[in-house]
Amino acid sequence: MAVNLRELSKQEVSLTGGHRLCAGCGAPIVVRQMMAAAETPIVASVATGCLEVATTIFPYTAWANPLIHSAFENSAATISGAEAAYRSLKAQGRIDKDIKFMAFGGDGGTYDIGLQSLSGAMERGHDMVYVCYDNGAYMNTGIQRSSATPKGADTSTSPAGRKIPGKPEHRKDLTAIMAAHNIPYVAQTTPAHWRDLVTKTRKALAVDGPAFLNVLAPCPRGWRVPPEDTIDICRLAVDTCYWPLFEVEDGEYTVNYQPRDKRPVSEWLERQGRFRHLFRDENKGIIDDLQDVTDRTWERLNRQAGD
């Protein structure tokens, strides 16, 4: 499964230009890289959210592959219905193509309101890939906190106020929750690590059964970073080990990238306006806390991977 950039660049673009996602949005980069990686036609579902509302404004659509959207919390249940129809019609000889199924959701539609639907679809064993584009808040509705929002982040429902300095809680470790479903393939990646992302997309599509990919997808508006920094900020998330690149294949953990020079989390935080208040003296403890959780998660991952 060698990843050849020249070949990838020749793939037809599945999410075409002209959509209305913001400059620097991580979501369309993720989708385009994944679709370019796919070697079989894809039928996709998408949860209500930025990716959906900005790419499917009737009578236009940016999607060159079949797509279905119906609601916020049900991207996984929706694609499981399409996949069931495919199995049924294929078994009856009413369809002859090979098709793969992908579901997309933001962190709101995945970590929070769609978690039940996702868990159910994974447990049922549908042959599908669920992709969470994790931008760490409800960005579509105006940057409200989600259970993917890092501790301390300033969001519109966890504002950095005079008394409470941003979101009080740590984020949920969704990738671990999905690994606990004992599905064939679970991985975490970013669009900055395109070779990693393409390889993982192909592995996820290749397994017989459900796969889950958690992909960091910066939101320049919500993170308060310049749009041109999207890829850099992903690299820094990985180099600080805030967002490790790893995969779980049939329960076996592999850490795919060991930073030669592991950077302090503060370097990732200080690039983002949503964490600016944490650098005031009285909030330094939150940075220490984030560093501590990052280190412990990183060590645990390496133990799980036997490194």
Binding site: P41, I42, V43, S45, E52, V53, T56, I57, F58, P59, Y60, T61, W63, A64, N65, P66, L67, I68, H69, S70, A71, E73, N74, A77, T78, I79, S80, G81, A82, A84, A85, Y86, R87, S88, L89, A91, Q92, R94, I95, K97, I99, Q116, S117, S119, G120, A121, E123, R124
Partner: protein, 399 residues
């Protein structure tokens, strides 16, 4: 009970009748979640799948919300798709009911009517499906297991008709029908298959990767209204399609169906309107009162959505008084949903009869012949005097 090769009279509960209809329809996809009193349908269908009696892909979802989400996508994929539910399960589907209808997905869903929480109660009333009356689904109500069976089979054809393309819920009263043993005629499997024909009827399939389409796009101020207007047209077209399907079904089964059944209404001064299993009890009361010389009759509504407003007016306008029996309330403090619908339909008639409303049977409270007799007697009094003492009454409740 794996096959039926000739029309035969069998003893089945309402749930067994519904499950049998589902087996004979042999949907491409079923996604369902068990809930009392619908549970047996899901259990029996699981047996059909386990025994290879159907070719259905059965998605054992983790909730009714996911059930409806899955069948919306499977129907969009060109697969004939069904689910079934009751009460809180229907309520959990609420968001998706509207989406199923607006996406014009011909999903067929047996609904075993049960009181909606709270307080929690597992027994029959119509608050669940009546709450969904404006979700854009066609609604058929059944008096007994035979009608539930027949309605489910007809629902496939009604929903999939190219002029309609709407989801259909087929309601039967929880426990009263669903768990009571009834005598009914079951069609041979091949007759059901011949009647429903090839499945799906999806013009543009989600699975057509050579002609990719986006289903469920964002529809803003300049298109949403047109799409909702088209949805109304589908419901209007059902007025033609429902009788067409019923005529064809009568040819196959020998059983006739209309928007509503008129029982001994020819010369009736007083007519009571009901839906569901109460019609059976009310017919007995009509017979008894006719024997006593009272000119009374019954209208049993089968199709509540679309509302056969013109036909109901035709049937009711010459009466001296009409009473509507509702097995749910709207909590508007202005009467039940059937009352609202029928009384509204009569407004355009100059010489309209007085119409009163009786709300009864909530949470499975028994409705007795004596209580229905009281409805007739009070309505005969309205007919005599032209005066209603009150417009809305609650029947059989401690007040």
């Amino acid at each position: 009970m794996s096959t039926a090769t000739q029309s035969e009279r069998v003893a089945l509960t309402g749930n067994e009748a519904a499950a049998t209809a589902m087996r004979q329809i042999n949907p491409d996809v079923v996604a369902a979640y068990p809930i009392t009193p619908q549970t047996e349908i899901v259990q029996m269908f699981s047996n059909f799948v386990a025994d290879g009696d159907v070719h259905t892909e059965f998605v054992r979802v983790e909730s009714e919300h996911s059930a409806m989400s899955a069948v919306i996508a499977s129907a969009a994929s060109g697969a004939r798709s069904m689910t079934a539910t009751s009460a809180n399960g229907l309520a959990l589907m609420w968001e998706m009911l509207y989406i199923a209808a607006s996406y014009r997905m011909p999903i067929v869903m047996p609904v075993v009517n049960r009181a909606l929480s709270g307080p929690i109660n597992i027994h029959c009333d119509h608050s669940d499906s009546m709450g969904a009356r404006d979700s854009g689904w066609i609604q058929l109500y059944s008096e007994n297991a035979q009608e539930a069976y027949d309605n489910i089979i007809q629902a496939v054809r009604i929903g999939e008709h190219p002029d309609v393309r709407l989801p259909v819920m087929v309601c039967q009263d929880g426990f009263i029908i669903s768990h009571a043993m009834d005598n009914l005629y079951v069609l041979p499997d091949e007759d059901v298959q011949a009647f429903i024909g090839e499945g799906g009827g999806q013009e543009h399939s989600l699975l057509d990767v050579d002609n990719p389409a986006t289903f469920g796009p964002l529809d803003l101020q300049n298109w949403y209204f047109e799409h909702k207007r088209q949805q109304v047209e589908g419901m209007k077209n059902a007025h033609q399609v429902i009788p067409e399907v019923a005529r064809e079904f009568a040819d196959v089964s020998g059983r006739s169906y209309d928007f509503f059944e008129e029982y001994r209404t020819e010369d009736a001064d007083v007519v009571v309107v009901v839906l569901g299993s109460t019609a059976g009890t009310a017919k007995d009361v009509v017979d008894a009162m006719r024997a006593d010389g009272h000119k009374v009759g019954l209208v049993k509504i089968r199709v509540f959505r679309p509302l056969p407003a013109d036909k109901l007016v035709e049937s009711l306008l010459s009466r001296s008084a009409v009473a509507i029996m509702d097995r749910s309330d709207t909590f508007s403090s202005a009467g039940g949903p059937v009352y609202h619908a029928v009384r509204h339909a009569l407004y355009d008639v100059d010489e309209r009869p007085p119409v009163s409303n009786y709300i009864y049977g909530l949470g499975g409270r028994d409705i007795r012949p004596s209580q229905i007799r009281r409805v007739f007697e009070e309505t005969l009094e309205v007919a005599r005097t032209g005066q209603r003492s009150r417009s809305i009454s609650y029947l059989g409740v401690r007040e």
